[in-house]
């Protein structure tokens, strides 16, 4: 690490904590290129998703993560084996970061067999070994994440669970209930509010009597972090993991970030804010541009190298797009799979009694295997 470069993050704000993460963070060349690449993949992937939606190739909802890339990339960088994440419906970036390919994400959006769950989840429901999903119900993931942390503590793992939610979801009573139990039982969980300024068309100020989300755990210590700075996010997360694994209980994070697109693709996203506001963020706070400037200036990478990464990323996403628009879909029998786990084949009524079938396959994995 001889060529590590040191950067300063914006000051963290601390709540009920005497010490916090370091504002002075170091970065090596390898990580610089990796973070840049990861953020670019997410950005491009989401653009591709947006286009697919406009071309009517995606059914249902489609919530893009553009603008928030530093949150997922920074937190992932501090995770180690066995750590887990759960978030809401805005989950494409996280699914990718936690092990799915771009193809698996985009194909899930278009409902193809190559999708993360073969088209049965869609935009809001993808999973990996360390990623407990996407969840379509605002707030539901808050206690779920605490439960995942409970399992870690139960098994005496040195792990923690990152439990994400938005500024809108921060008002859910489930958070209050989950933080209370997490604190009572010292669960290794970080409740992370990604404050992107809006819950659909409602500004944080109109939904939340206090917008200091890092303090909303009351007696649970909290940290405000610049969510547009991947290095600040990484350092804060590293610190939090240590804190949790020392048995000190839960933390609340507020990651200050921004959502470029509308809430979902059906929302133009311009009735409750000005185009200027979005442009201003893009110009002054963009997590990728900012990071790019920094690492070039610090000689961790050259403009040329980053351009090459951009090219590779474009290629990766383009290829994924191809599969996502050409791959097959599950056969109708898949309507009747994945009802129960490890249970004998069931008799399932269809839309009419005459459509009643005995399950051909118990789950999609079986179906895919036998249809290869």
């Amino acid at each position: 690490a001889s060529n590590d470069v040191t950067f300063q993050t914006k000051p963290y704000k601390l709540h009920k904590l005497d010490d916090g993460p370091n504002t002075s963070v170091t970065l090596n060349r390898e990580d610089a290129l990796k973070f840049y690449r990861e953020m670019q993949v997410i950005r491009r992937m989401e653009s591709a998703a947006g286009n697919l939606y406009k071309e009517k190739k995606i059914r249902g909802f489609c919530h893009l993560y553009s603008g928030q890339e530093a949150c997922a990339v920074g937190m992932k960088a501090a995770m180690t084996d066995g750590d887990a994440v759960i978030t809401a419906y805005r989950c494409h970036g996280w699914t990718y970061m936690l092990g799915s390919t771009v193809t698996e994400v985009l194909s899930e959006l278009t409902g193809r067999i190559s999708g993360n769950v073969h088209g049965k989840g869609g935009s809001m429901h993808m999973y990996t070994k360390s990623f407990y999903g996407g969840n379509g119900i605002v707030g539901a993931q808050q206690p779920l994440g605490a439960g995942i942390a409970l399992a870690m503590k139960y098994r005496e793992q040195k792990n923690f669970c990152i439990t994400l939610y938005g500024d809108g979801a921060a008002n859910q009573g489930q958070l209050f209930e989950a933080t209370n139990m997490a604190k009572l039982w010292d669960l290794p969980v970080v409740f992370v509010c990604e404050n992107n300024g809006f819950g659909m068309g409602t500004t944080a100020e109109r939904s939340s009597a206090s917008t200091d989300y890092y303090t909303r755990g009351d007696y649970v210590p909290g940290i405000w972090v610049d969510g547009m700075d991947v290095l600040a996010v990484r350092e804060a997360t590293r610190w939090a993991k240590e804190y949790c694994n020392a048995g000190r209980g839960p933390l609340v994070f507020e990651l200050a970030t921004y959502r470029y697109h509308g809430h979902s693709m059906s929302d133009p996203g311009t009735s409750y804010r000005t185009r200027d506001e979005i442009q201003e963020v893009r110009k002054t706070r963009d997590p990728i541009t900012g990071f790019k400037d920094r690492i070039i200036t610090a000689n961790l990478a050259t403009e040329e190298e980053l351009k090459n990464i951009d090219k590779e990323v474009r290629k990766e996403v383009d290829e994924a797009l191809k599969t996502a628009t050409s791959d097959g879909v599950l056969p109708p029998e898949a309507l009747y799979t994945d009802i129960y786990h490890n249970t004998e084949k069931q008799v399932i009524r269809g839309a009419t009694i005459d459509e009643t079938v005995v399950q051909k396959y118990k789950n999609t994995a079986e179906l895919l295997k036998e249809n290869k």
Partner: protein, 358 residues
């Protein structure tokens, strides 16, 4: 003239908010955003912050606040962005709203309308596709309405708002944008549709198809196809699931002697099940030339198809089979229309079947 269901609900709320100072609307995005599905479009501009209230995403809390304000004399319209999210608030709907009148021996009544889109939309997956008709209809103390057309929506919504009891108003996202002819009367400010009465949408002689909400569209479609096959179908639009107008079904089956129920919710303990039981327990039972058939959402664990079918008189078999083949095409998967319907009715309305077919 014509009107969409969206505009009909909007107009009904507009008129009632204007008419009665105590009526107000609250919910997520209902004010400045005009509603997630634009059902409350323009109301906030017109009536302002006091009457049209944007809430945080806290269903349990704002439903409770709405119920409390109703106990204290206001007449809230409480929107759930979709009924799926009402599960967070269902304790307030059932335990606080539906049960208080009875528990207080008639001392405290709760004039409130809970409303929002119900059931599956296209490809939004399991958490966003639930149909709550059977759950709410199961519970005493609630009135449960399920409009189909624009006229239904307008007249029932106005009756709901003027009703002195908790009303669950189950709309349908796919129907919002649909246009229906409306009478001049229905455009008026005093157009009320009585709660608890079904509507004969179409008269017929050979089979009664009972449905509600989006299912009525499927029933009417089936009836049209049956007509060209020489079968005359009567279509009943229930409108109200609680109180339940079994009498209209009874009369109809006395004429047609055959009965099919159509609903987009899960079959087990569904509305069709209840109709089957009421048929059994009434003289309608003796009127049936063929057993009742249910057309429902899928899937639900049940038993294999009945054995005895082939023994029935030929024309009955024809009707039943024809209904199945047209309404839910169990055999002809190549049919574009039917499979599109099919996917949006599944337990879990999942996206993967859509790109090819929708």
């Amino acid at each position: 003239s014509n009107m969409t269901v969206r505009d009909a609900i909007n107009q009904a709320m507009d008129e009632e908010i204007k008419r009665d100072e105590r009526v107000y609307l609250l919910g997520e995005e209902v004010a400045q955003y005009d509603g997630a599905y634009k059902v409350s479009k323009g109301l906030w501009k017109k009536y302002g912050d006091k009457r049209i209230i944007d809430t945080p995403i806290t269903e349990m809390g704002f439903a409770g606040i709405a119920v409390g304000s109703a106990m204290a004399g206001l007449r809230p319209i409480c929107e759930f962005m979709t009924w799926n999210f009402s599960m967070q608030a269902i304790d307030q709907i059932i335990n606080s709203a539906a049960k208080t009148y009875y528990m207080s021996a008639g001392r405290v009544n709760v004039p409130i309308v809970f409303r929002g889109p119900n059931g599956a939309a296209a490809g939004v997956a399991a958490q966003h596709s639930q149909d709550f008709s059977a759950w709410f209809a199961h519970c005493p103390g609630l009135k449960v309405l399920s409009p189909y057309s624009a006229e239904d929506a307008k007249g029932l919504m106005k009756s709901a708002i003027r009703d002195d009891n908790p009303v669950v108003f189950l709309e349908n996202e796919i129907l919002y944008g649909q246009s229906f002819p409306v009478s001049d009367e229905a455009l008026g400010e005093d157009f009320l549709i009585p709660i608890g009465k079904a509507k004969i949408e179409r008269e017929g002689d050979n089979v009664t198809i009972v449905s509600f909400s989006k299912g009525v569209e499927l029933a009417l479609d089936a009836a049209k196809k049956l007509e060209s096959a020489g079968v005359s179908a009567e279509v009943i639009n229930l409108r109200s699931l609680r109180p339940f107008d079994f009498e209209s079904i009874r009369k109809s089956v006395h004429k047609t002697h055959r009965l099919v129920t159509v609903e987009t919710g899960w079959p087990f303990c569904g509305i069709g099940s209840e109709i089957a039981a009421q048929v059994m327990e009434s003289d309608v039972f003796d009127q049936l030339d063929a057993p009742l058939l249910r057309v429902t959402g899928r899937p639900s664990q049940q038993r294999p198809r009945r054995q005895g079918r082939q023994k029935e008189p030929q024309h009955q078999v024809n009707i039943a089979d024809y209904l199945l083949d047209t309404i839910f095409a169990t055999r002809f998967l190549s049919n574009y229309w039917t499979l599109a319907q099919r996917t949006s009715f599944t337990f879990h309305s999942f996206p993967s079947l859509s790109p090819n077919f929708f």
